[in-house]
Amino acid sequence: MNLLWLILTPLIGGVLAGFTGRRNTALPRWLSLACLAIDLGLVLVLWVTHDSTTVAANGTWLAQMDWPWIPQLGIRLHLGLDGLSLLLILLTLGLGVVSVIASWSEITERVGFFHFNLMLTLTGVIGVFLALDLFLFFFFWELMLVPMYFLIAVWGHERRIYAAIKFFLFTQGSGLLMFAAIVALALINYRQTGTLTFDYFALAQAQLGPTTQMWLMLGFFIAFAVKLPVVPFHTWLADAHTEAPTAGSVILAGLLLKTGAYGLLRFAVPLFPAASATFAPVAMTLGVIGILYGAMLAFAQDDMKRLVAYTSISHLGFVLLGIYAGNTLALQGAVVQMLAHGLSTGALFILVGALQERLHTRDMRQLGGLWSSAPRIGAIGLFFAIASLGLPGLGNFVGEFLVLLGTYRVASGFAIAGTLGLVVSTVYALSFVQRVFHGEQQTSKTVVDFSWRHMLVMATMIIALVWLGCYPQPAFDTASSALANLQRVASERLSRPGEP
């Protein structure tokens, strides 16, 4: 099957939704859902028809397509799907469906344009996970920003303009650094081989001196670090996540942050293995700082949404740690952590968004005792809060534990420091539950409990998270050959003569 359809389906859905939105408010929602469902079907078919044995014979890639796009500049429409992309695209489509349903009652104005932007963001994210041409990758990387910007700026909360512009400037600025690095890499390769190409596999063969490699790696790293976000670059995150509408927050936390991690896994480390090895202690330090600092910031918040936003920094710190620890255990952990974080944080944002829709506040000082009036919300909130703190049996635990285990083997100090993050996360997660659902009820408003629509979404996410926690083997199997391939690319480069 042609991989392009994976990208085109949500795009078509978005355009249709945009056109129909003027006349009908329900149609865009159903169209978006239908297109996402079709896309999900396509991916599942791909997944099921390729079991792990054929994958190995096929060289880790489940499917590839390679068309010329701008031949004069050696830019090709080169897409490839391996286990890693597959898992992340499944997450993308799953969270896409969830976002559409979550905004069913929240978004009432300009519904068509909303779904247009939503679907376009998903298109960009899927493109990022598939692109194997660096120019194409950057194209999708930037493509997801604009609709996300509109989602925040038009349907966001009080300080939406500020948050949207900050988000755009941070990501665009760092993205241009990466773009300069991509162009430099392509031109260096051009001088060595005489062919101008942006192809991932070709550029992985370029000979780079140690200094050049370090600079180029930094160009990539900064772009991904801003998205991830790594601590000195994290300030956009809390604003953007807090001010975005629920669907926007779900996509930001669940997917856009993952594109940063994916970029590190797919590009920064395999393309520049020597520089990455040198840089690993710095990156791991940043990861540990992120884990602890993010958790502490989360604990200090009164705004529910900000709290959830800061937990992302903490959780993604584990991912960074795992990526730079570099062994199979840690990488597997990082992938599971990405999936689990997407589910648990996405669910928390939906929950918080639902509370805000009902109570018109996110301030936890004005909340409390909601359990009695809305027991479903309370129970589900408790579930995802303890998922977030890493309770065994749920996906986050598997991810964090594997990352720490893998890190312990290469750098025990980082692992020990990272473990402290689990303690702090307990504090913020439980205090969140305590302050929102227990104690005196502050507001006299009666809180309407979750509707069947929300319950359905939440139940699906709970099942997925429990599955990931109790039986993560399918995820491991799917990702393993892809991760092994990435490690192989890196080690081949390191062992090649002429490499620093």
């Binding site: 796009w69 701008i70 031949p71 004069q72 500049l73 104005e109 300009r110 120019f135 950057f138 194209f139 999708f140 930037e142 493509l143 920003l145 604009v146 910007y149 509109f150 700026a153 038009v154 303009i161 949207a164 512009i165 755009f168 400037l169 665009q172 600025g173 241009l176 650094l177 773009f179 300069a180 162009v183 430099a184 031109l187």
Partner: protein
């Protein structure tokens, strides 16, 4: 002059002929629609005349002009931009009281000057083309003559044009005094024959010429006039100044530097790099302080010329390709952005140029607002638009020649630039119902259609730039072979 020569300069002949017919038509029968149609027809014929001319290329016609594919490509760009400006102006002028017919005449003559510039291979034709262009522009800028601002802008432009011409002439004189020739190609030969090291005369001459051209391109530090003139001039004229005048000047500068091998000498690259970085930073920073959209676009144009200068320094085949692509992109998005102001202002007494007046535009006029947002995103260099490919070329050119300060300036400038483009987009998308401005008057059909075409080009060339790149590579080879 043989038949071949005449075929080669057919675009000039058609354009000149059109101007004369339009004069006569105005003298006998003052009719807005007729004049506009005649001018439009003439420009379309000029575009068509490029094909027979390209069969003769490359050809020197008199010592003054060289008709090569490079010149013809830029002529095509200029004619197309003029057609767009004319179409945008039609509805704009129809709604105003002034007699509109001479406007078309001036546009035709200015276009002739610009076309002469891109084909000139000699200082004399350089100067002739420049003055033809400048003097017509004076009339165009001051066209709404019962208003104060256009008059002020026109006087500013007059003084500037005078000064820059003086610089240019002095620079030409110095080079002539040293080498005894006014032909670009001869300069290169004489330089290699006479002395490997260019001396003070030559360098001073070059610096003065660059100053004169710099004024016209409004690069820092010669940029002071641009915001005032853009603000004062009618919006379609501002588009003309920004695209046709600057584009032709840049094409000429490129030809001069490539033909006369000027860019490799001594302090010249450093001089251009400094000007480029200053333009990018100053243009973008000053744009942050503006609330008037035309002024924002003026400063953004200063910054874009800075990006172009970064590509200018790259050298080699990439230089011409990058600059040409960027100029096409710049033409599409700049004419488009000014076009939005033009069609919105068509029914209004004064031009709608205040940022606040655009609040909520996208909800009231979704297509127009969407097109404006697309133009602005393209100016910011976001993918799916032609501006992205342009920015890619500029960065590639900078990286290729390892001019890291310029590349860093380009990145920083783009981020700053994004901020003020987003400011406009925020205004367009403002959701507060109190902000809504009532847009009086219908959108003129010609203007609307032109904008639709420009928006399609903006996205089409951003998604699939291959044909245009191919065209540019075929035309760029001509000048690069020298």
């Amino acid at each position: 002059m043989s038949g071949t020569d005449l075929t080669a300069i057919l675009p000039f002949i058609v354009l000149g002929g059109t101007a004369i017919i339009v004069i006569l038509a105005i003298a006998f029968c003052r009719n807005h629609r007729l004049t506009a149609l005649l001018s439009l027809l003439g420009l379309v014929l000029c575009l068509i005349a490029i094909w027979p001319a390209s069969d003769m290329a490359p050809r020197h016609v008199t010592p003054l002009f060289v008709i090569d594919r490079y010149a013809l490509f830029y002529m095509g760009l200029i004619f197309a931009a003029s057609i767009a400006v004319l179409l945008l102006s039609y509805g704009y002028l129809a709604a105003r009281r002034e007699q509109p017919e001479e406007f078309y005449l001036l546009v035709l003559v200015a276009t002739l000057g610009a076309a002469a510039l891109v084909a000139s291979d000699h200082f004399a034709s350089f100067f002739l083309g420049l003055e033809t262009l400048s003097i017509s522009l004076l009339g165009l800028i001051a066209y709404p003559r019962d208003h104060e601002k256009p008059l002020e802008a026109s006087v500013k432009y007059l003084i500037l044009a005078g000064i820059s011409s003086a610089f240019l002439l002095f620079g030409m004189a110095l080079i002539y005094a040293r080498l005894g020739t006014l032909e670009f190609a001869r300069i290169a030969t004489l330089l290699t024959v006479n002395d490997a090291q260019p001396n003070l005369y030559w360098l001073t001459g070059l610096a003065l010429i660059f100053t004169g051209v710099g004024f016209k391109l409004s690069v820092v530090p010669f940029h002071m006039w641009a915001p005032d003139v853009y603000e004062g001039a009618p919006a379609p004229v501002a588009a003309f100044v920004a695209v046709v005048s600057k584009g032709a000047m840049f094409a000429l500068l490129l030809r001069y530097f490539v033909t006369a091998n000027a860019d490799g000498f001594g302090p010249v690259p450093m001089m251009i790099e400094t000007v480029a970085i200053a333009s990018i930073l100053v243009g973008n920073l000053l744009a942050l302080l503006q609330d008037n959209i035309k002024r924002i676009l003026a400063y953004s144009s200063i910054a874009h010329l800075g990006y172009l200068l970064v590509a200018f320094l790259a050298g080699g085949a990439l230089q011409i390709e990058a600059i040409t692509y960027y100029l096409v992109a710049y033409a599409v998005m700049t004419v488009g952005a000014f076009g939005i102001i033009t069609v919105l202002s068509a029914g209004a007494a004064a031009e709608i140029e205040d940022l606040d007046a655009y609040r909520g535009l996208i909800w009231q006029r979704p297509w127009l607002g969407g097109a404006f947002a697309a133009m602005l995103l393209s100016l910011a260099g976001i993918p799916l638009t032609v501006g992205f490919i342009g920015k890619f070329y500029a960065i590639a050119a900078g990286v290729n020649s390892a001019m890291w300060p310029a590349v860093i300036a380009l990145i920083v400038g783009s981020v700053i630039g994004l901020f003020y483009y987003l400011r406009i987009i925020v205004a367009i998308c403002a959701t507060n119902p109190d902000d809504a401005t009532a847009y009086i008057g219908a959108i003129p059909k010609t203007g609307g259609a032109t904008l639709a075409v420009l928006t399609l080009m903006l996205i089409g060339l951003g998604v699939y730039p291959t044909p245009l790149i191919h065209l540019i590579q075929v035309t760029a080879a001509q000048i690069a072979a020298k």
